[in-house]
């Protein structure tokens, strides 16, 4: 395949008349890259300087976009990912070649698993040295091909800006995802006066947004005839900005709503129809609902194994209606009896219009309510026992607004956060779902802080193990005085592993005890943040109030019950209906 590719980029010379008069003319490839980002409306970028990306940083020097220098490139990609989740438009991260690019990889893979809009720009050694194992050279497009929606290797200074515009458009359209443009230093350094045109997706990329009317009609008939209907909302509902359509659909037809973890916030969890989150650590009532339903309206979900448990026992008697913009997700893991390919909002509206009547499901709704009573989410708080993590989560929720944004790392603390916080709005739950990346919480909070309104509170729940992985980013939060509250649910364990070791490895705590953890409150102070420590129940409310009132980054080290575990739990690959409520049920 030696022949060089043809380009689909528009001839941008015609577009140059749209240029704002105040802007300096483009004089090299790097400036063209920066101009393409400006054209796309980018306001913030996250990255780390380095040799091969220097021309782009030099061009940024004259730009009004705000660059946030992160302490580590992994955090740049997480911050950009979270920025994309909260804002709905692609977050941007930059890194130099070699180690810079490979450090971005975790965040790119994370964004790819969760279909988060993101664009990564990586420096590369000069074109003439590519393939020679030059200093800080990595085959970045090769490394990231399996974890990007599309990636690009720039080889023409005149079109490099258009390429960036295309990558940005690709990240944002259809099923969103991360894209990457690899930028050899000679390409960004070389002179060009070509202004990039408006960003467009390639001619071969035309996702169907409006579903086939026959598909919709068949699905509507199946749903209207259901006796035990359930809506399974996936992250695609939020990605497609279809939250309103979902709420209207469910409330009008009185269908109980279960969400996947990425969809938390798509439907208000205090609504009577909300069954909350299903899956491995979902609520008992959500798992009962998806197990016993007869028609499942699944929207924008890829039926991840943490949701489905064993395929053979997943909604085993249900006809599945699957709405998704990506045809490849339909019947990938779970066969769809009624596939509906299209944008979630459009498809829900069409389906709403096509429903002849609402399902006759009074008995089923009543059954769902009974399950809520039978399997309540609850915990004990004896005074003489260490602090329960659930109590901390609820204490934060009680004193914050509905639009407060919660970010998390990955582990037990993530599950307590999602279980015991009552989410009511989309884009307020920012977490690492598919990839399960420990260390996601703090950099995500930084990205969320910049994407959120100033009056939105940002809280990052962390575990001690998760926080240790990226806590160097406190330096960034302090430097830019970002108002973020980090709540470390510290049990001196890599707790989810400890929980599994207790359940499945005879309690042999191999490499899961973190007894040597630093004192996080003092560490926070060393970084210049505000530090707190909480050991007792009666300290919780006042400390939370003080931390939230502090104008800048603060860290509360909550010393929680080291034995606290996450329930309900569906054992890996087991039936959702067999969720365990305690360890002896596993």
């Amino acid at each position: 395949m030696s022949e060089r590719a043809t380009s689909t980029y528009p001839d941008s010379t015609e577009e140059s008349t749209d240029e704002k008069p105040t802007r300096r003319p483009v004089t090299n490839g790097a400036q063209s890259v920066v101009r393409a980002l400006e054209n796309a409306g980018v306001k913030h970028l996250f990255g780390v300087q380095g040799g091969a990306i220097m021309p782009v940083y030099d061009a940024l020097y004259d730009s009004e976009m705000t660059h946030v220098t992160m302490a580590h490139e992994q955090s740049a990609s997480h911050a950009a990912d979270a920025y994309g989740i909260v804002s709905g438009t692609p977050g941007v991260c930059l890194a130099t070649s070699g180690p810079g690019a490979t450090n971005l990889v975790t965040g790119i893979a994370d964004a790819n698993m969760d279909s988060d809009p993101m664009i990564a720009l990586t420096g590369q050694v000069p074109s003439g040295m590519v393939g020679s194992d030059a200093f800080q050279e990595t085959d970045t497009t090769g490394v990231t091909a399996p974890i990007t929606k599309a990636n690009y290797f720039a080889s023409d200074t005149d079109t490099v800006g258009d390429m960036v515009g295309e990558a940005f458009a690709m990240a944002a359209s259809g099923r969103q995802g991360p894209t990457l443009v690899d930028l050899p230093k000679d390409i960004t350094n070389a002179p060009t006066d070509r202004e990039p045109g408006p960003g467009r997706t390639p001619s071969t990329y035309n996702p169907r947004t409006d579903p086939d009317p026959e598909e919709v009609s068949a699905a509507a008939t199946a749903l209207a005839g259901a006796k035990k209907p359930v809506i399974l909302a996936g992250g695609g509902v939020i990605k497609a900005n279809a939250t309103e359509q979902l709420r209207e659909f469910a409330i009008e037809h009185e269908i109980p709503v279960v969400t996947t973890m990425p969809a938390v916030g798509a439907f208000p969890e205090d609504h009577p129809l909300s069954m909350e989150m299903a899956g491995m650590h979902g609520t008992g009532y959500a798992n009962m609902a998806i197990t016993h339903c007869d028609v499942m309206l699944a929207v924008g979900t890829r039926f991840d194994d943490r949701l489905t448990g064993g395929i053979d026992t997943f909604a085993p008697e249900a006809e599945i209606i699957h709405i998704d913009i990506d045809p490849a997700e339909v019947s990938k893991n779970i066969f769809a009896d009624y596939p509906v390919i299209g944008d979630a909002g459009t498809a829900l509206t069409r389906l709403y219009d096509a429903m002849a009547h609402e399902p006759d499901a009074d008995e089923w709704r009543e059954r769902c309510q009974t399950w809520k009573d039978e399997y309540p989410m609850d915990y004990q708080t004896p005074e003489d026992e260490p602090l329960k993590p659930q109590f901390v989560v609820e204490a934060f929720d009680a004193v914050t607004d509905d639009d407060t944004i919660v970010t998390t790392g990955v582990g037990q603390h993530q599950m307590w956060a999602v279980q015991y916080w009552t989410f009511k709005e989309p884009r307020t739950w920012v977490s690492s779902h598919g990839l399960g990346t420990m260390g996601y919480g703090l950099p995500a909070a930084i990205g969320a802080r910049l994407a959120a309104r100033d009056d939105q509170t940002i809280i990052s729940f962390e575990g001690d193990g998760s926080f240790l992985m990226t806590l160097q980013e406190l330096s960034v939060a302090v430097r830019d005085n970002m108002d973020i509250t980090v709540a470390v649910l510290n049990n001196k364990y890599i707790g989810m592993v400890r929980q599994w070791q207790d359940a499945f490895f005879e309690g042999r705590h191999s490499a899961s005890e973190y007894g040597w953890c630093p004192e996080f409150d003092k560490l926070a102070e060393a970084f210049g943040a505000k530090g707190f420590r909480v050991d007792e129940y009666d300290e919780v409310a006042d400390t939370i109030e003080a931390a939230l009132a502090y104008d800048g980054p603060s860290v509360i080290d909550f010393h929680i019950d080291p034995g606290a575990n996450v329930y309900p739990m569906v054992a890996s690959g087991a039936a959702n209906g067999l969720f365990a409520l305690s360890e002896d049920q596993l």
Partner: protein, 220 residues
Amino acid sequence: MTQGLQGPRPEERPHPEGRRNAQGKRIDPVQEAEQESRRATVSALVKHEPGVLSLVSGLFSRRQFNIESLTVGPTTVDGHARITLVVEETDAGIDQIKKQLAKLKPSIAVGELSSDAVRAELVLLKVQGHEPDKVHAITQMYEGQTLDAGPRTITVQITGDQRKIDDAVDAFRQFGIIEIARTGQTALARGDTPTTPGESPAASAESTASETQDSSNTHQ
């Protein structure tokens, strides 16, 4: 030290009778639960870019699709190439392969060929040259060509479907095969049927201006 939640124990709960098979399809108790795999020929029209082959082969390896052969070559359209894949998968797997191939950025169109498609592969065989007359006779029987004949070796070319090639290789074993090089299957739909959806000779030969305008390199 681990408290749990309240509620009926797992065995006290109602459980549905139904099941799904490995493809996530509800099992009709009367029918076979698992799908059999079958052999399919998939044709993909792609942008002829650097890296497209590794993108396709990477897709197959990381998604654990069972690939039998893969051939690739340019078409008459500048910048287009056709990839022909023979795969052994269940219906659900073949469906997934087509969808995943279609998602790749350089992918223009993807289709599965019907059983009556025109298909061929090629083999080059280098055999001992002690019995040139016999080698020639077998080559003629398989409508092949002699490409090189010397005092010690004879190299012939055979084209045809897989079965014919297999038979030819067997027939040449008697002379002592020294080396062999075999392509995978390549194929086109028979008659007017387009090989990939929307494709026709006219459309396939047309190239949009924007696609040939620049020589910039989209590398994946």
